[in-house]
Symmetry: C2
Subunit: 406 residues, 2 copies
């Protein structure tokens, strides 16, 4: 008898009727013989409301107490889901993250799952229960409740699927699956039936916002195939698993746009060994996530150091940069809060050159200036002016004929 | 350094400002040298809202899942309280019932505390933390979350005070303390500075609604003196502890009225040995709480069996009674949903007769008919027509000169 993990996000649980719809899906799979583990997020905007509640008392509440507070969102969802499945006449039991044996480190607000003790979940499955686990949360070695970061119900689902040796893992969400580009910007974008973990990983880090990277990384590490599929229809969504390059070869699988970028440049940094390490370790330790980094060739012992950060991090990133510039004897700090990143992703480009040239050509033809470039084995990203970002995405999508199907 | 337990009820935590007020109280005691354990209920009407949420999915949700759901109310409160204390610049940590080591049996919705493992609480106190524990909840042997019934934060506070050997236990609430009668009905009612556990126990079971009986029972069993005091002022409230009869002698400490009563009478029950046991064990097993019981003397082998129940239980009580009447060959079942119970309470009456007569006389002088009478060592209760209940309370209050001070 197969075991299946089904994860439901907050928007799929936002009302009693939606909770019942999700319950019906689980019951349907259960009735055809699968054992079911459901993973539920907090309902709708519950987490945001809890954060606002804390904010009404303290502008910077402690991370530990925020985890204590936020964890109630999922706890509500799982209890309601169990009640909904009972309503449909089936057996179900809810388990919090700690009860489901999800052990994490103690980094409140962004804890990592260390191990899962599946004994309780298995025991309940053997009793014939549909087991409903709270996503997003776990317990540290001292018994404190932790949360594993935004989107943290996806990692919970994937980690549980791995620990339980599940046959399938369905991530129910409010999109039809993964597309070759955001259809709101590129109307001719196409649904992708199957893609590789690495491709989705790159897309996730590029602002495609289908799934958080951590869940995909976990799935890749443990070889858990999963499906990203809509909660509102029976569409099969996008299967994500390891793809053999020979069998399903494409240069570029999808294009992505991250409009939430800002650029910081520290000008004329005296170019000594270790200066980049100093800069970026200090920036990282102030909790600013740096994305792309470009260092100009040194001229007269002075180099420019440019990097992009999420727009929310710009103020903090600037403060640290100003402080660093003064300390290191750099000339000044410039910033641009209106940049965007356009990227193409595909495991096929590992073995094929010419992808970068095609992308640069497409942008040049549209007279879009490229401010920064960054490449990995399977992606190429260009930073452009935010005002031309949508044009850039459409141009690239067309250049790689993504509208023609893969 | 003394240890103090402070319990705050839902109405004392209903807004961010009230949470901060409660936090200030804890900080004030902490600053003069006490170690503080706070016990918090769910905010305002949170528990009722959670129950309504479940009701929108299933009319009769499972007790286990309701406990999972309701437990979030206190979890929110403790996190917010910790955040509020941090805001005041002091150290604090919140602990759920399970984290605080509160072990219960598995009777969901009305679990009983079995033991408290105080290791974690003590460890945090030693670190200088104000420790904030979720009331109302615990964990059973299998790791399930349980709740310990309505008003369940009071037992949590008292049990923690006992387990920790606390010097004081303050139950903050939305009343000034205990009064000789409900001041809304008897304007001349007086504040009681000090009373015995047994007196408050009787009052609690008589509808005085100051505190749930279970908390008082626990306090009595473990000899934990506590104070019922207002959260909105510095009034000292009512100290509840063991009172030596010689020192603080009074016949009657207070009078109470429970208007939420209904009466059921099973007429002409064939009077065989064991018939009362049959009737009341069946009624109890249908979860109807029977209060007073009167059996008339048998006439021709037939007796009338009258008893009172809470008004909410009347329909269920009647259904069981009808079924029993048919089975036992009784004549019929009568009921009256408009009765009330007036009572006087005082440990002094243990050694003094004449209290009952004085009460009956007071009611007779007001031409109030007594329908049922029940006495214990330290209380006398009379069931009267609901329409005369307030008159009855005032008459009794005056007859025992409760407005003159004790």
């Amino acid at each position: 008898m197969g075991l299946m993990v089904q994860k439901f996000g907050g928007s799929s649980l936002a009302s009693p009727e939606k909770v019942l719809n999700a319950a019906r899906r689980a019951v349907r799979e259960s009735d055809v013989g699968s054992r079911i583990v459901m993973v539920c997020s907090a309902q709708g905007d519950m987490t945001d409301r809890l954060i606002a509640l804390a904010g009404s008392i303290h502008p910077e509440p402690s991370e530990r107490e925020m985890d204590m507070l936020k964890a109630v969102g999922e706890q509500m969802s799982i209890a309601l889901m169990a009640i909904a499945i009972h309503k449909l006449g089936r057996q179900a039991i809810s388990l919090t993250g700690p009860q489901a044996g999800i052990r994490t480190d103690s980094f409140y607000g962004k804890a990592k799952i260390k191990t899962i003790d599946t004994a309780r979940v298995r025991r309940e499955l053997e009793k014939g229960q549909i087991v409903i686990v709270a996503g997003f949360q776990g317990v540290d070695a001292e018994g404190n409740i932790t949360t594993i970061g935004r989107g943290g119900s996806d990692p919970t689902a994937v980690a549980l699927a791995a620990a339980l040796g599940a046959e399938r893992c369905d991530i129910f969400t409010d999109v039809d699956g993964v597309y070759t580009a955001d259809p709101r910007i590129v109307p001719e974008a196409r649904w992708i039936p199957h893609m590789d973990y690495d491709e989705l990983l790159e897309l996730a880090s590029l602002g495609a916002r289908v799934m958080q990277s951590r869940a995909v990384e976990l799935a890749k590490r443990f070889g858990v195939p999963f499906r990203v599929r809509p909660s509102y229809s029976d569409a099969e969504g996008t299967l994500v698993s390891e793809i053999s390059r020979e069998l399903e070869y494409v240069d570029v699988r999808a294009a992505a746009l991250d409009a939430n970028q800002a650029k910081i440049t520290i000008r004329h940094v005296p170019d000594q060994p270790g200066v980049a390490a100093t800069i970026f370790s200090e920036i990282a330790s102030s909790n600013v996530n740096v994305d792309m980094i470009v260092q100009t060739a040194s001229e007269g012992g002075l180099a420019d150091m440019s990097f992009t950060v999420g727009r929310d991090d710009l103020a903090r990133g600037l403060a640290v940069s100003e402080e660093l510039a003064a300390r290191l004897g750099a000339a000044r700090v410039d910033s641009d809060r209106k940049v965007a990143k356009v990227s193409v992703v595909g495991i096929g480009m590992r073995s094929h050159s010419g992808v970068a040239e095609k992308m640069f050509r497409a942008l040049a033809d549209e007279k879009i200036n490229i401010q920064m470039i960054s490449t990995s084995e399977i992606k190429i990203s260009c930073v452009v002016d935010e005002e031309r970002a949508a044009d850039a995405l459409r141009a690239v999508h067309q250049a790689f004929a993504l509208d023609q199907g893969s």
